[in-house]
Symmetry: C2
DNA sequence: AGCGTTCCGATACACATGCATCGGAACGAG
DNA sequence: CTCGTTCCGATGCATGTGTATCGGAACGCT
């Protein structure tokens, strides 16, 4: 057999380059030539990995979505008080914010893809899947909190999960626009999560 | 004096064409040629109205922002119960949602511009100004509601206004992605506003 | 070592876009 | 009507983009 290449890892490598470019210069900054340069490969290599640009973008979108979800799960795992549901809620939502330091890049990538998903049904489907996962995650947390008596019984887990997600996204937008600081966004999240606690 | 043209109204006319194109095909759909065609004029006319494309886009951004704000104020004015602060709050936020019928186009335009504003400081400044106005509007409503005893005293008007705006934006995103219906978004807004009422 | 397959880098190409240019039309003042 | 200024439509141009193509390099197998 001839020369073999780990396609999947190369695809991830290129996807990372795409994300960095999108985070810095937006979707229109992710041209094939720029992507190749950023990834340190040639255009031909990129073309071999992805049949067309669309495919590359979808892969990059899934790439960043996966990272955001994993960041949320990781923060839950290393939560200081694993038993405290509100702490876990907060950590999850803060991870979704992704407005800290270099994570801020991911937030801009999220923004760019979400805006595009508004127009492209294929991208929209990917985002819907992403949000379905996050909703599930939060819903489970909320339900668990109710069962352990930490969260008020009248809270409707799924409905509340959707509201929290919307809040987090809206705050992300504000931070990206420079109207809120990451800290004030976190504070807003905290206010909302503590309000769910039983008094 | 030679041929004279109402520049300002022509600029608005073109801005409207820009918004329709952006709402349908995104920012990249707003090429000078397409804009001219949509507006029913020639490229030369567009070039005479705006020195460069950037200027045209900023003008269009302000155009749609103005319409959103005016829609909010209008909804407040024609509110069924002008005295009810929560009704006014709801109307304002629903106007911000702009996910009804043809308003949905404006929501997509908002999304596109906001995503771009993440990368372009000039656009970001425009959006910050827009949000400052909305925040002021909501803050006043909340304060008024407190003074008339309709809204709980422990609510911090400005903080709450920011949270409501973030919620509305996040819900808009979800509707645009096709994950929420306009009705469910309105319901989420209603839940949040009624929660502010004194019990 | 030799070979066949896979990969890659460069180039070619068609096309779109923003902007500049320019000749003439439109229109008000005299 | 005549003139002079403003406007506009068409065209040209430089540039950047996605994709197709192709010759050769890299590499595993025999």
């Amino acid at each position: 057999m001839p020369k073999q290449v780990d396609h999947d890892s190369r695809r991830r490598h290129i996807a990372q380059a795409v994300c960095e470019l999108i985070g810095r210069r937006g979707l229109e900054g992710a041209t094939l030539r720029e992507v190749a340069a950023q990834a340190g490969v040639s255009m031909g290599a990129v073309q071999r990995c992805f049949r067309a640009k669309d495919e590359m973008l979808v892969f990059a979108q899934e790439h960043v979505n996966r990272r955001i979800t994993e960041r949320a799960r990781a923060r839950i795992a290393e939560s200081p008080q694993p038993g405290s549901v509100t702490t876990m809620l907060e950590q999850t939502l803060v991870a979704m914010l992704a407005v800290d330091g270099e994570d801020l890049l991911d937030a801009r990538v999220w923004m760019a893809f979400t805006a595009q998903a508004t127009l492209d049904p294929a991208l929209a489907e990917v985002q819907r899947g992403h949000y379905a996962g996050l909703t599930e995650l939060l819903t489970v947390l909320l339900r668990t909190g109710q069962e352990s008596g930490q969260i008020r019984a009248e809270v409707e887990p799924e409905t509340e999960a959707e509201a929290l997600i919307a809040l987090a996204d809206g705050l992300t937008v504000q931070v990206l626009l420079g109207r809120h600081s990451p800290e004030s966004a976190r504070a807003a999240i905290r206010r909302r999560t503590t309000a769910l606690l039983r008094t």
